[in-house]
Each structure stands twice: as C-alpha cells, then as structure tokens.
Amino acid sequence: MLKAPLRIEGEYARPDDETLVREVRAPYAETTTIRGGEATIAREGRRPRSFALSRAPELAGLQASFGALLAGDAAALERDYRIESSGRREDWTLVLVPRGEALAASVRDITLRGRGAELRCIETRPVDGEPQRTLLAGAARAAIAAGDAADDAALCRETGIATR
C-alpha cells in the first residue's frame, strides 16, 4: 500500500495504573487513550473515535508490555502469553506468544527487547503482513538522530551498547 514504511514520533505516558496515553507529535498530532479495554483516538478538529482493544492486535502488544511489564505483573503476562526469555541483563529478549485464540488469529508473537531496566523495542509480528516496531528510549533517540536513513529493524535488534 505504501511505498515506504510509515514512521511516526511521539511519547507514551502512564498517568495512572489503568490508563495508557500514546501521543503522536510528528509528522502530525494525535492522542490515543487506552483505558478499560477501549482505545480512543483524538485528532485535532475531529470527533474522537473509539474501538475495542480486542480489535487492534498492535494494541494488545502495547498493553502486554506497558500494562503488565511496567506494573511488574508477571502473573498477568503469564496468563495471556507463553513467555520465552533469552539473553543477558544488558541485552535481553522476551518473546510473547498469545495464548488466547482471538489474539493468536491475528498476532503471531510480540518480541520485547531491552537493556537493563530500559525497554528499547517492541516488535509485533502479525499473522499476515509486515512486522510493526515501536522503538523506545535509547533506540528511539537513535532513530530520531539518524532521521529518514534510520534502519528500524537494526535499531530494534541493537543492544544500544555497541552504538555508544
């Protein structure tokens, strides 16, 4: 559909335990609020749209990483996904494979990569189509610094140490 992968920049925020805000700053402004199993997308000059989280597999990955991971709720994560961990403290990888049929129908797996306490990349591989990556923290800064030339796939896999 698109000639090149779409790149957007922004920030995630967790104002409280139940809410996750995804704020896009460039190339346009958009705020997505995830709360109570619903996502609401607001754009300037538009009526907000909302839809069920279960309809957006990408969000399921976000929920898994931010929701359970940041809350340190390993049990919740374990309930929804089979977890395989590998690597070492400075370069770890968690692969989450959905247990539920509904999610497994659209999401093959979700890979989280990080260094120490820093989550650097979330890669969601759908059953059909291209993987979708969210670079965070150091990886995101590196991608912004590299501009259009950034290789997202490589940045996602990088430990972050080598570039320093």
């Binding site: 559909m1 698109l2 000639k3 090149a4 779409l6 957007i8 995804r22 896009v24 346009y28 958009e30 997505t32 995830i34 109570g36 199993g37 619903e38 996502a39 997308i41 754009r43 749209r49 909302s50 839809f51 069920a52 989280l53 279960s54 309809r55 957006a56 597999p57 990408e58 969000l59 976000l62 659209s106 759908p126 189509g129 979708q132």
Partner: protein, 831 residues
C-alpha cells in the same frame, strides 16, 4: 346398586375425564394472540396497532442489564449472551455494542455505499477532497487503528463504509468498555434484544424470556453476575407468572375449603367427588368444543370461561341437598330439572349473543360456556342419579336449618325498601367521582415500581425507542413512504438539537428513497474525472500509484447501478431493521400503499414532535390512546351484547314461568344485585373494566339460579329447607372462592373476586327475601317435592311444573296481602 359400585362408577367417570382431559390437552393449541380478543379496528391508528404493528417498535425490545462482576467479566458474558441469542431465530437482532464497525454493512451492499451515505451530498468527490482524505488515511495507518483500516483502503480510501456504519449506529449509544455497551458508571453491561414476535404474544415472549435466562445462566456460570430484564415482553411474562402463581395458590386453598365445606354439609366423603364431576365434565366439554370449532383456543377464553362456568358447581349441590330416603334419585333430579334447565337455557341464550359480537375471542367464550353449561346440566341430570346414596339423611329434619328458616320467615318482605335500595344505588352511581370505565388495560397488570424505574433508566442509557409514541408516514408505495420519512429527518434533527427529542430511527436512515440515490449517482464523477482527481490527490503521498484501483471500480459500479430498493435488502442484517420500520401491504387492493414508522427516543416535547410530524405529512401516533379506544369499542360491543342478552334472558324466564309475579321474583334479585355491585364498586372509587363486566355476568347467572330454586321450592317447608341448604352451600362456596380472589394483590383477580363476592352475598340475601314463597308447613306431605311422573318428565318441556300448582287453591299467605295492592299477580297464587 351397592355403595361400593356407585363409588367405583364415580371414580371411573373421574378417570374417563382425566383421560379425555389428556386427549383434549394434546390437541389443544393455546394462543396468546390478543388480537383475537380485539374488535375489528376502524381508525387508521387502530388498524396500525392491530393489523401491522402489534405494538410500537419499542415494545418488542427487551432491555438487559448484567451486573455484579468485574467489567471485563461482564463484557465476556455480554458477548457470549449476544452470540447465543443472535443464533436464536426468535430474536430479530441482539445488540451489545460489539460489531458496531464494518460488519454492520453487509458485503453485498458495500458498492452502494456512495448511494446510501449522505457524506457526498455537500461534497464533490474531487482532488481536494481526496487529498484531504488520503492525509487522514496516512494518519490512520500510523495509529493503533491501522490493522482495522488497512484492508479497507484499496476500495474505500474515504472510509465511506465506516461513515455509514457510524451513521447507522443508534444516535445515543451508551459508552463501551471492553468492546461492549456499559452504563455511565461502568458497572452494568447493557444489551438490547428485539423479539420477532409482538409484545402482546405472551407465548412467544415467554419463550424469548426463557431463552435469555438460559443463555445468561450458561454465560455467567458461577461468576455471581446478575441479569435484569425489562421491556413490555419481560414485564408481561413476569406479571403473567405472578398472576398464575397467585391464582394457583388461591386455587389450592379454595379446593381444600370446598372439599371441607362439602364434607361438613353432606357428612359424606363422596360428596366432594360427586360435586366435582359435573364441573370437570363441563370444563372438558367446553374446551373440547372450542378446540373443535376454532383453530386455536385463546388463553383468555380458558381463563374467562372457567370463571363463568363456576355456576355449574351449584347443580350437583341442589341435587344432593334434595336427596333423601323415599325418593328415587331419578325422580329427584326430574323434579329439579325445570328450575335447572330454565337457568341453563336462559344463560345459554344470553351467551348466544356473544356469537354475533364480531370478536373472535367472545365467540370462543360463547361456544365454551354454552357447551360447558349444557354438559354440566346433562351430567347432573343423567350421570349423577346413578351414583348418589339414595337414602342420605333428610336435610329438612336438621334442627339448625329449621331454626334458621324460622328466623328468616320472621323477616319482613321488602317492598318499598327495594325501590329505596335501587334509588340509593343509582344515587351512589351518579355521585361517584372519577371515570366510570378504566380503559388502560396495563393498569390491570401493574409493573412493580422498581421495574418501571429500571426500565426508564435502561431505556435512557440505551437510547431505546419510546413504547408509546411513534411517527407514522404513509405513501402510495414503499418509496413514497421513504421519501416522506426522509423529508421529516431535518425537522427531527432540529428537535434533537433543541433537546425536544433524544433521537429517532427510521427506514430512510438505512435506505434512502430512489430519488435521493439517483441524485447521488448524478453527483459521482465519471471514471475519467475520478482517475484524474485521484492522481492529483496522490501526488507527493507515500501511497503506491496503483493502490486504489478497486476504488475506481467501486465508484463506477455505484454510479451505474440500479438504486437499492427494500426487496434488495433481503438476506442482509438490515432487512429486519428496515422491515420493522417500513410496513408494506401485501399488494392487494385493501392493502395498497406502505407505512413508514419513525421510532422516537428520549421524547421530551411531545407537541413539538407532533407538529413536526404533521408538517411533514405524518402523524404522531399515541399507541396508548389507540389501544384505549380499542378497549372502549370492545366494551361497547360487550355491553351491546349484554343488553340483548338481558332481554333474551328475561324473555326465556318469562316463557318458562309464564306468570309476571313469578318472573319478577326470579329476575328482581338478579337485577337489583347488578345495581348493588356496581354501586359498591363505584362507591369505593373503583373504575370498571372488562373483567368486572365478565364477573358481573357470572354474578347475574348465580343470582338467577338462586332465585329460580327458591321460587321453585314453592311453599312447602321441607322443600324450602332443603333448597335453603342447597343455596346456602352454593353461595358459601362461591363467596369463599371469590372472596379469596378479592384479597389478591393482582388487580385482575381482585376485580373478578370482589365483583362476584359482593354479587353472591347480595344475590343470596335478595333471593331469600324476594324469591321464596311463604311456607305452608301444614300442607306439606312427607315427600314434599313432588316428583313428576315418568310420562310428564318425558315431555321434557321448559314449563315449570312445580309443586305449588298442583294442590287445591290455597288462601293467599298473610304476608302477600300488600303484594296485591301493587296490582301485580301475587306470586305463588294459582291461576
């Protein structure tokens, strides 16, 4: 015949009844369709109510609320419940907020989206618009919605499908949590279910109600969640259940009391058995006759019918009370026959008028009661004599009865006091305030306060349509009706904006009229224009050049397709919605044209909506007013039938008794009692309804029998004593049964119970005072009630050949002197 054989025969009869009852029950098809009990509708509103709608669009809706568990748990249950019910053919649709997206638009209709959606009405499909839209889509692809949107884009870069799906959503949908509707507090998951059957079809509503409960039980497991259901169907099922439970409970107490009363009255354990046989035979005969003559027996026929034939319980009692040593049971029943048959024939002739009422339910009622009364009379006449103990204790020798009768004889015969009583009753009736009739049938089955509150809250949260008001627009055909509806939309939109109306729904929202679709087609660009515009819009975007080829094909298809018509929707989920809002005749001359309905929710300013409807050539229809006018018309027919019935009944009694004095003795208590009952009810401020009327008919029938038997007993003390015993047992029994009903919490049962209970007491007292003859104890032979010879009995005429016509002329009893001054023929005086 030995006592053992008689008992065996009676039990055999009972067993035969049980078998016959089972057989009738097998082929009996109970119908709950209230329309059978409605007269022919006349006004357009009534026609709509009865023929087409059944009820307003809101009345087939069930509103469900799940609570008592976590939001995510409830959401899961809501989804499971909706899936189960959606697969059930009894439900037209189930909505819980899920699938509000694209699945709402059937695949086959997708190319028509530019004809159905109003988006392009004020907007050309040109390069500017497409460029704007493509920018938006790029953002969509970067948003969490990407997965939803991406598959649609090649054919639909403007996301017209989503616009359409959103436009089709209920205007005031509740908030969604975990993908399903929740109330504002997030504590209750909300669902809407529309049944295929009308709200007034209790059988179908019961099925739907049970299906919802079963589906919920399965979905909720042991989560502790609760289901609450409101809506007309749920209420009628719950109230119906409550009425049935209460009636059953009262019925059980009544049965025990009846058995005890009969045991005490006759000091024989066989009496209750013999007492019940004619009633059971009558009920079965009635049911059987109706089942044979009509397609389906209405539930109300059965309920009213069994109320009305309560009178046949008296037949065996008269017979048992008269039986004593020295008289053959067959002679006994032959002697009773004239009085009994006069009552039966007079009542049957009265019910015959129902056959010509033009109301199917009343015809059923007539067939039921006439067959039942006849069967009971014949059962008593030909069945019972073989079964009774031929020589029980002679009740005339009871010292207590004798003492009672002596007391009664000391009572003065009322004359002017009766006139006074009648005048007092009329005065009360005139003075009583408030409307005479209660037309609102829903008041008879009141919904508990908390149920009403819950219903109002759920209705508001879900934006469910109003049950009472609906806008009706007519057209020569479906398209004309749709066009009229579409013309009303802007006016309603203004009202919604002003807050006079919460929201509305109409068929034209889903399917615009052909003219509108054609106009939209004309506004679509040609393939060449579109290709140019798209190329211009795509310049400089990251989209691939060939990304939107399916879009070009779809627009061209929409531009050249035949406009959609209602029939094209068949097989899509839209069909049910459009069909329920667009009523089309079957094409016959009588049913030409189509009617479009606009359902309303959150109605705040009824007058404003009525004005808007009128300005668009429609009407705001008040379902409640229409149903009340139907009830009033129905009652008019019942009253007319009753007036004719009263005349026929009087004529029958006249033919049977011949003498004006005797006729007066028999008819006066009954007529006065009707007046007394009406006065008492109205005096207490009770507004009368159809159930009071039916109960009045029963009371009148009882009164007629009491008077006939008192009059029939003649002037011999022993006969009078036995008749007193019989009527005492009869009236005690009836008063007991109906007093208990009068104590019920259900207004329908209370109406029937109070009317009959007052009627029985008044009938008994008046019959005793007015109908009895003064006793002539010294003239009484040992066997007081003269049994006619077999030859006489064989004539089987209606003519009353009772004892007092046989002896030599007697001097008029002292108490009768005043009667003569009245100019009338003194009753009991030989001709």
């Amino acid at each position: 015949m030995t006592p053992a054989r008689r008992t065996a025969l009676a039990l055999l009869w009972l067993a035969a009844l049980l078998v016959a009852g089972w057989v009738v029950g097998q082929r009996l098809e109970l119908s709950g369709d209230l329309r059978r009990f409605m007269p022919e509708p006349r006004t357009p509103a009534q026609k709509l109510l009865v023929d087409e709608l059944g009820d307003g669009p809101g009345s087939r809706l069930l509103l469900l609320s799940l609570s008592g568990a976590g939001a995510d748990v409830l959401a899961g249950q809501s989804r499971a419940l909706a899936a189960t019910l959606a697969a059930n053919p009894d439900f037209e649709f189930v909505a819980n907020g899920i699938d509000a997206g694209l699945d709402a638009v059937p695949e086959s209709l997708r190319p028509y989206r530019y004809l159905l959606s109003p988006t392009l009405d004020g907007q050309r499909l040109d390069a500017d618009y497409l460029g704007e839209q493509l920018d938006e889509r790029l953002q969509d692809l970067g948003s969490p919605m990407a997965g939803l949107v991406e598959p649609l884009l090649p054919a639909d870069p403007t996301l017209e499908m989503l616009a359409l799906a959103e436009a089709w959503l209920p205007k005031a949908a509740p908030q969604r949590l975990h993908g399903v509707w929740f109330d504002a507090d997030g504590a209750e998951a909300l669902l809407l279910a529309q049944t295929g059957a009308a709200g007034f079809d209790p059988t179908a509503q019961q099925r739907a109600y049970d299906a919802v409960h079963a589906a919920f039980a399965e979905a909720s497991g042991d989560s502790g969640a609760q289901l609450r259901m409101t809506g007309p169907g749920a209420f009628s099922v719950e109230i119906g259940g409550r009425t049935a439970r209460e009636a059953q409970w009262i019925g059980s107490i009544d049965s025990i009391a009846l058995v005890l009363l009969l045991l005490v009255a006759y000091r024989s354990w066989r009496a209750p058995l013999l007492g019940v046989l004619p009633l059971a035979t009558a009920g079965l005969a009635g049911l059987g006759a109706v089942a044979l003559a009509f397609e389906a027996v209405h539930g109300i026929t059965v309920a009213f019918g069994f109320t009305l034939i309560g009178v046949v319980q008296d037949y065996p009692i008269h017979f048992l009370s008269q039986q004593r040593a020295g008289i053959d049971p067959r002679d006994n029943v032959r002697a009773l026959w004239p009085a009994l048959v006069t009552g039966v024939v007079a009542t049957c002739i009265a019910y015959l008028t129902f056959l010509f009422s033009g109301v199917d339910g009343l015809r059923q009622l007539a067939v039921f009661t006439i067959s039942a009364l006849a069967a009971a009379a014949f059962a008593t006449r030909f069945g019972l004599p073989a079964l009774v103990d031929p020589a029980p204790r002679d009740l005339a020798t009871s010292p207590r009865l004798q003492a009672l009768w002596r007391g009664i004889e000391r009572l003065p015969r009322p004359r002017w006091s009766l006139l006074l009583l009648a005048a007092a009753c009329v005065a009360v009736l005139m003075a009583a305030r408030g409307p005479f009739w209660e037309n609102d049938l829903s008041k008879l089955t009141p919904v508990p306060e908390e149920g009403m509150a819950l219903d109002a809250r759920l209705r508001q949260e879900l934006g469910a349509p109003d049950v009472r008001y609906v806008v009706v627009l007519r057209g020569d055909d479906a398209d004309a009706a749709l066009a009229a509806t579409e013309a009303l939309h802007p006016r309603l939109d203004v009202l919604v904006a002003e807050g006079a109306l919460g929201g509305y729904d109409s068929a034209a929202r889903y399917l615009p009229p052909v003219a509108t679709q054609r106009a939209r087609q004309r506004a679509l660009p040609t393939p060449g224009q579109l290709r140019t515009a798209l190329a211009e819009a795509m310049a400089g975007t990251p989209f691939r050049e060939d990304a939107f080829a399916p879009f070009l094909a779809d627009v061209e298809r929409a531009r050249t397709a035949e406009p959609l018509r209602p029939a094209d929707l068949a097989g899509t989920p839209l069909a049910a919605t459009v069909d329920s809002l667009l009523l089309q005749g079957d094409g016959s001359v009588a049913e030409q044209g189509a009617t479009a309905l606009v359902s309303l929710s959150g109605l705040a300013d009824i007058d404003a909506v009525a004005r808007a409807a009128a300005a668009a050539g429609g009407d705001l229809l008040d379902m409640k007013a229409a149903s009340e006018s139907l009830v009033a018309e129905y009652r008019g027919r019942v009253l007319a039938a009753l007036a004719v019935a009263a005349l026929l009944l009087a004529a029958t009694v006249w033919i049977a008794l011949r003498t004006p004095g005797r006729v007066a003795r028999v008819l006066l208590p009954m007529a006065l009692t009707t007046l007394v009952v009406l006065a008492v009810l109205r005096g207490f401020g009770i507004e009368l309804n159809l159930f009071h009327l039916v109960a009045l008919i029963l009371a009148a029938g009882l009164g007629l029998d009491y008077a006939l038997f008192f009059e029939h007993a003649g002037d011999r003390r022993d006969d009078q004593l036995r008749t007193l015993h019989a009527v005492l047992v009869c009236s005690l029994m009836t008063a007991l049964v109906f007093s208990l009903l009068a104590l019920s919490s259900i207004p329908v049962l209370r109406a029937i119970g109070s009317t009959v209970a007052i009627g029985v007491v008044s009938n008994f007292v008046l019959a005793l005072l007015v109908s009895r003859h003064a006793a002539v104890p010294q003239a009484s032979p040992p066997s007081a009630l003269r049994a006619p010879s077999p030859a006489e009995a064989g004539e089987g005429t209606l003519q009353d050949r009772d004892a007092k016509e046989q002896p030599a002329p007697l001097p008029p009893p002292a108490g009768e002197g005043a009667r003569r001054a009245d100019g009338g023929n003194p009753a009991g005086q030989p001709r």
